[in-house]
Amino acid sequence: MSNAMSDESNTESAMREIQIRDALQEAMTEEMLRDERVFLVGEEVGGYNGAYKCSKGMLDQFGARRVIDAPIAENGFTAIAIGAAMAGLRPIVEFMTFNFSLCAIDQIINTAAKARLMSAGAISCPIVFRGAGGAAFQLGAQHANSFDGFYAYTPGLIVIAPATPYDMKGLLKSAIRDENPVVFFESELTYGKRGMVPEGEYLIPIGKADIKREGSDVTLITWSKNVFLVLDVAEELAQQGISAEVIDLRTLRPLDKEAVFNSVAKTNRCVIIQEQHEVASYGAYLSHLISTEIFDELDAPVGLVSTLEAPMPYSKALEVVLLPSKERIIEKVKAVCS
């Protein structure tokens, strides 16, 4: 992936605490200041400062030419941004949520992801599609889809799904500088989440997982907002005498196989936690890789905790049953560790 420097590019600078929405706004703002070709388009990104306030102040700073309020026409504004990328600009497309990206998925998969191959490299499509994926609280079935697996399936796309403010900012900046089309997943539930980021500029390389907690008994692999849930679980497991290593994939495509395999080779046990249904899911693919490529390292079958196999019901009494929960994760970890 072009241009992405290593984590070390920031060891000097002092740290400060910000929310994820600010991390995203800073990443976009810095890149727009750095590169005139970068612009932001999406519903409510301008006058409204973003449905989740991730582009706060950007219309005032950059004007309507570079911070563009789009009407509700995902297919249309996505395709226009793709065309603009083919003509040398570097668009950032915000989907209010990735649920609505389904209205534009043909353009993402059949145009953006394939333009380079079909033109034998004559056309590139440097564009970032970003927004919230997965369920928030009680938004009902049509607003709780997890489509990260659809995009991760697609050759030609890069798929990033970070958790922390630090990773969000550093990876979004790398995504904007990347020459490939990038699908970047956030979460409605964590835009307000706080975390430390350096004062100065930094980038995080695409395709590198991060060990969010070291451990020796079992490897817990996850991504996106579930990193926070899994870190809580690891804490609880520690109290119960189980030392869990938590791997945050950060990038789904390309996968950091090495980081995953090294950790599992160390712990010999592994549980994958995903907010996706199980069939044809990314987590099942991870389980397949681990189960087949490092078969001999495993002391127990890989564990997989997924969203249950039904559309998301509205009632909180039911939503909690479908989503991965502390209880279900701990149960699975114990099964794998026994």
Partner: protein, 315 residues
């Protein structure tokens, strides 16, 4: 007769207004989760339109659906219970605020993807024509829904296949925080119909009688000639897009200008001027009782059992 009509229309609008005011209260008490989009201010559109339709006509709308559900005869109890995510809800707590259903009354929801309900509703009407019934479909959408592919494909195919359907754009001037001019560089949204052989109308959505006339004529065209109509009803939502939206993108004067012509207020005054003051007060009381009863019912109802979480996915 005339009196009965006025009282009916007034009552339906008042039910919606009070239902949603109570819903807003319950939302701030965190008893309702997710998004809550209120229809307050637009009542004359749903009530006027649905008051001239038949039992065998289908009704569909977007996520701002409480008003249409109630106007079509949906129960306040089942609606309120749905908002609270209870097993006694109109969708047994599975749907939520954006997905009300009352299939017996042919109210088919309640959909969350902007514009997607437009061709689906055309399909309901298509089925009635296929069966040889005289039923039609009416579908409501927002001003924000006129650019998305589903809207155009729904109109194009309905005109091409002569489907008996009415498309009603409830132009409440905003799509979330997006003012109309950022959605379409025109203030006549009905021109979208010019691309297809279909009828078009623009109507004052605060004038319930004008809405009735317009929809009655459109229904007649659909029923008798299989000619679709695109109707733009100019209206306004008094509240934010959803409970989460402070609506800073407009002034209170803008809102007050519309409130001055509030359809419930206006119709209430008409009733009084016709000597129906007592009747109006009686209706207000009945509505109050119905809504309070609905709230109690909803609060007292049980949540769905966890072991039913996977139900209703397959037969």
């Amino acid at each position: 007769m005339e009196q009965e009509l006025l009282s009916d229309l007034y009552k339906q609008m008042a039910r919606i207004r009070r239902f949603e005011e109570e819903a807003a209260r319950l939302y701030t008490e965190k008893k309702i989760g997710g998004f809550l989009h209120l229809y307050i201010g637009q009542e004359a559109v749903a009530v006027g339109a649905l008051s001239v339709l038949q039992k065998n006509d289908y009704v569909m709308t977007a996520y701002r659906c409480h008003g249409h559900y109630l106007a079509r005869g949906g129960s306040a109890r089942a609606g309120m219970a749905e908002l609270l995510g209870k097993e006694t809800g109109c969708a047994k707590g599975r749907g939520g605020s954006m997905h009300f259903y009352d299939v017996e009354n042919r109210f088919m929801g309640g959909w969350g993807i902007v514009g997607a309900q437009v061709p689906v509703a055309a399909g309901l009407a298509f089925a009635e024509k296929y069966k040889g019934s005289d039923g039609i479909a009416i579908v409501f959408l927002g001003d924000g829904a006129i650019n998305i592919g589903s809207f155009h494909e729904g109109l194009a195919l309905s005109a091409l296949w002569k489907i008996p359907v009415i498309f009603v754009i409830e132009n409440n001037q905003f799509a979330m925080g997006t003012p109309l001019e950022k959605t379409a560089p025109t203030d006549d949204l009905s021109i979208r119909a010019l691309a297809y052989p279909m009828a078009r109308e623009t109507v004052d959505g605060h004038d319930i009688f004008a809405v009735r006339e317009t929809i009655f004529a459109a229904a007649k065209r659909a029923r008798e000639q299989n000619l679709p109509t695109l109707v733009e009803a100019k209206t306004y939502r008094y509240r934010g897009h959803s409970m989460a939206d402070p609506a800073k993108y407009r002034t209170s004067q803008d809102v007050d200008a519309w409130k001055a012509r509030d359809p419930i207020k206006v119709l209430g005054e008409t009733m009084e001027s016709l000597g129906m003051k007592a009747l109006r007060e009686q209706i207000d009381q009945d509505v109050e009782n119905e809504i309070q009863d609905a709230v109690r019912f909803a609060e007292d109802s049980p949540f769905p059992a966890p072991e039913t979480a996977l139900d209703y996915t397959y037969v």
